[in-house]
C-alpha cells in the first residue's frame, strides 16, 4: 500500500511539474515504485530489467530537456487529468477486477498476493496517462502520458501467465523506444517553436 501511495504522489508530481527535468525525475520515481509492488510473483531479474528501462526512459527525457527551465505548464490540465484518472481508476477496478471471490487482504508494507495493489496502481497509471495524453498540447506532456500508460500496462502484463522474462524484456524495450521517440519529438517541436 505504501508503494501504491508513492506511485500516486509521484504521478501527481510528474503531472504538475512545469519543467521537463522534474517530470523525468518524478517519472523514474513512479516507474521504480510501480515495479517494486510485490504481488507474490516478483523476480529480481524482472525488477532489474524494468527499473533499468524506467531509468533509461527518464534519462532520455532529462537529456532532451537540454536546460533546467524547459517544460510545459500543465495549467487546468492537471486538475482534469487528476479527476478523470481518479474516477476512471475506480470504475475500471470495479468493472475489470477478476471475479475470483478471493478475500482481499492488503497491508502497509508487506506483499499483496491478491494482486489488488498491482491492479489499482496499473489502472491509476493507465487512466492518468490517457488523461494526460488526451489533454496534452505538445510532445512534453504527450511523452509523459505515453510512458505512464506503458508503466501501467507493464503492471497488468505481470499478472498474465506465460513467458514473463521475454514479455518484460519486450515491454522494457518498448518503453525505451517510446521515450526516444518522445524525446525526438520534443527536440523537434522546440526547434520549430524557437525558429
Amino acid at each position: 500500500m505504501l508503494l501504491l501511495a508513492i506511485v500516486a504522489v509521484a504521478t501527481l508530481a510528474a503531472n504538475s511539474a512545469r519543467q521537463l527535468r522534474y517530470t523525468a525525475v518524478a517519472f523514474f520515481g513512479v516507474a521504480l515504485a510501480a515495479h517494486l509492488i510485490d504481488d507474490g510473483s516478483l523476480a529480481a531479474a524482472h525488477i532489474m530489467i524494468s527499473a533499468c528501462a524506467g531509468l533509461v526512459a527518464a534519462a532520455v527525457l532529462f537529456v532532451a530537456a537540454r536546460d533546467g527551465r524547459f517544460g510545459e505548464d500543465p495549467g487546468w490540465r492537471l486538475w482534469i487529468a487528476t479527476v478523470v484518472a481518479a474516477a476512471t481508476t475506480a470504475a475500471a477496478f470495479a468493472f475489470l477486477r477478476p471475479a475470483t471471490g478471493d478475500e482481499i487482504n492488503t497491508n502497509l508494507l508487506g506483499p499483496d498476493p491478491s494482486g489488488v495493489t498491482t491492479e489499482v496502481a496499473a489502472f491509476w497509471l493507465l487512466s492518468s496517462g490517457i488523461a494526460i495524453l488526451l489533454t496534452a498540447r505538445g510532445a512534453v506532456r504527450g511523452s509523459l502520458g505515453a510512458l505512464l500508460m506503458l508503466t501501467g500496462t507493464q503492471l497488468l502484463v505481470r499478472l498474465v501467465p506465460g513467458p514473463q522474462l521475454a514479455l518484460t524484456l519486450l515491454l522494457s524495450w518498448l518503453q525505451v523506444v517510446v521515450a526516444l521517440a518522445g524525446a525526438f519529438l520534443i527536440v523537434n517541436q522546440r526547434a520549430a517553436r524557437e525558429a
Binding site: 500496462t153 499478472l159 521517440a181
Partner: protein, 450 residues
C-alpha cells in the same frame, strides 16, 4: 528467427552510424533485407521454436507476407537511395523490417502487439523534416499519440483477457474486445480515427508515408487478424453479436468515408492515402463476416493495397518534387505519372491484377450477408475509381509537344516492378491466395473450437 531479427537490428545500428554515407548505407540496407528474405524463404514449412520461452512459428501466411512486405521495403530503400536521399530512412527501414518479422512469426498475442507498436513508433524519425517550414513535427506527434494510446489500450485489453478467468460476465469480454478493436482502429487510421493520417498525408515525406501505408498498415491488419485467432477471443465475438456489428460499422464507415474523402481530394498523396483507408474498410468488413471468403479477401486486399500505396505514394512524391511550385503534371515525370495511374488499377481491384480476387470475395460475401452492405462496398469501390480517375485526369491535363522520360525514373521503375508482380499474381493467383486460405482455415478453427 531470432538470428534474422538480430541481423536486421545490428544492420539498423550500423546503418544509423554510417547513415550519411549513402553508398555504404544503401548497400548494407539492401543486402540485409535481401538476406532476411532469403532466410525466411528457405526456412522449412511450419518451422518453429522459442526465444526465452516465447514461441514462434513460420506459417504460410507469415512467409508470404514477409516476402511481400520486405520486398516492398527493398523497393522503397532503392527509391530513397537513388531518388530522394533521406539519411534517417535506412536505419528506420531495417528496424521496421525486424518488427515486421517479429509480428509475423511470434505466436503470443501480447508479444505480437508489443513488436507491432515498436515498429509503428520507429518511423517517427522519418516523418519529420525541415520542421521550420511545415507541420511535419506536429504530424509525427499526432502519429506518436495515436500509436501510444492504441498500443497501451490494446496490450491492456489482451493482458486483462488473458488474466481473467473465462467465467466472467459477458459484458467484461465485450468491453475488452471493444477496447481491442478501437485500439487497432486507431493504428489503422480507420474512420473516424483517421485525423492523424490526414495530417501525415500532407506533411511528411512521400517515402516515409509509403513506409507507413505500404508496409506498416498491412502489417497492423495482419497482426489484428492473428491476435484475434491467438487470443482466444473469437468464440466470445461469435456469441456476442455486438462486437461483430462494431467491426462491420467501422469497416463500412472507413470504406465509404475513405472513398468519399478520396473523391474530394485534389492532392495525389491524399487520393492514395484515402484509397488505402477505403480498402482497409473493405478488409474490416471481410474479417467481420467471420467467413472463409471474407477473411481471404480481407488479407489479400490489405497486402495488395500496401503494394499499390507504395507505388502511388512514391510516384506522387516524384511528381510533386519535379513540378516544384506548379501542379504535379505528367509532362515533368511521365513514367512516375504512369506508375500512379496503374497503381490506381490495383487500388480499385481491377482484373487481371491479383487485387481483383480480394475485392471480389469481400463484395460477394457482403452481398450474401445483406444486400445493402454489398451495395455499400460497391459504391465505395466506385468512389475510389472516381477519385483515381480524377487524379489521373489532373496529372495528364497538359501534354508536351514531345514526351521525354525523366532523369532517374526510379518511381516509374518501382511502379513497373509492382505492376509486374501484381499481374503475375493475377495470372497465377494460387500462389498468393493459398497461404491466405491456410490462415483462413486456422481462423475458422479458432472461431469454433471443439
Amino acid at each position: 528467427m531470432i538470428e534474422v531479427i538480430a541481423l536486421l537490428v545490428v544492420a539498423a545500428l550500423f546503418a544509423f552510424v554510417v547513415r550519411k554515407r549513402l553508398a555504404v548505407v544503401g548497400t548494407v540496407t539492401l543486402a540485409a533485407l535481401a538476406a532476411a528474405i532469403i532466410v525466411v524463404v528457405l526456412l522449412p514449412a511450419d518451422a518453429s521454436g522459442d526465444v526465452l520461452e516465447l514461441p514462434w512459428r513460420m506459417t504460410e501466411l507469415g512467409r508470404l507476407a514477409t516476402v511481400v512486405l520486405l520486398g516492398t521495403l527493398c523497393l522503397l530503400v532503392l527509391a530513397v537511395w537513388i531518388d530522394e536521399p533521406a539519411y534517417n530512412f535506412f536505419p528506420t527501414a531495417l528496424a521496421v523490417a525486424a518488427a515486421v518479422i517479429a509480428v509475423l512469426m511470434l505466436t503470443t498475442p501480447i508479444a505480437i502487439y508489443a513488436a507491432l507498436v515498436v515498429g509503428l513508433l520507429v518511423p517517427v524519425g522519418s516523418f519529420t523534416f525541415q520542421v521550420n517550414r511545415n507541420r511535419s513535427a506536429e504530424a509525427a506527434y499526432r502519429h506518436f499519440s495515436f500509436v501510444a494510446l492504441g498500443g497501451c489500450l490494446g496490450i491492456t485489453a489482451l493482458a486483462l483477457s488473458a488474466s481473467l478467468g473465462r467465467d466472467q460476465p459477458p459484458a467484461t469480454f465485450v468491453l475488452l474486445v471493444v477496447i481491442l478493436v478501437v485500439a487497432f482502429a486507431l493504428k489503422l487510421a480507420a474512420i473516424p480515427f483517421h485525423t492523424h493520417a490526414a495530417l501525415l498525408a500532407s506533411e511528411v515525406p512521400a517515402s516515409a508515408l509509403a513506409l507507413y501505408f505500404g508496409v506498416l498498415v498491412p502489417t497492423t491488419f495482419i497482426a489484428f487478424a492473428q491476435i484475434l485467432v491467438l487470443s482466444g477471443l473469437l468464440p466470445a465475438i461469435v456469441q456476442i453479436g455486438k462486437v461483430q456489428d462494431l467491426l462491420l460499422t467501422l469497416g463500412l464507415a472507413s470504406a465509404l468515408g475513405g472513398a468519399f474523402l478520396a473523391t474530394g481530394s485534389t492532392e495525389l498523396r491524399r487520393v492514395a492515402v484515402y484509397s488505402v483507408i477505403a480498402n482497409l474498410g473493405q478488409s474490416l468488413v471481410g474479417i467481420a463476416t467471420l467467413s472463409g471468403p471474407g477473411i481471404i479477401g480481407a488479407m489479400a486486399i490489405a497486402l495488395v493495397s500496401g503494394m499499390a500505396a507504395t507505388q502511388q505514394l512514391l510516384a506522387a512524391g516524384t511528381l510533386e518534387r519535379r513540378a516544384g511550385a506548379d501542379r504535379p503534371s505528367a509532362t515533368t515525370a511521365p513514367l512516375a505519372a504512369l506508375a500512379f495511374v496503374v497503381g490506381g488499377f490495383a487500388m480499385i481491384g481491377a482484373p487481371p491484377l491479383v487485387a481483383f480476387p480480394g475485392h471480389f470475395f469481400v463484395e460477394l460475401i457482403a452481398y450474401s450477408y445483406s444486400g445493402w452492405m454489398g451495395t455499400a462496398l460497391v459504391v465505395a469501390t466506385l468512389g475510389v475509381l472516381v477519385a483515381q480517375l480524377r487524379a489521373a485526369m489532373a496529372i495528364f491535363r497538359t501534354a508536351p509537344d514531345r514526351w521525354r522520360v525523366e532523369r532517374k525514373p526510379i518511381a516509374g521503375i518501382v511502379g513497373a516492378a509492382v505492376f509486374a508482380v501484381l499481374l503475375i499474381g493475377g495470372v497465377q493467383p494460387d500462389g498468393f491466395l493459398q497461404p491466405i486460405a491456410a490462415f483462413a482455415d486456422e481462423f475458422l478453427r479458432a472461431l469454433h473450437p471443439l
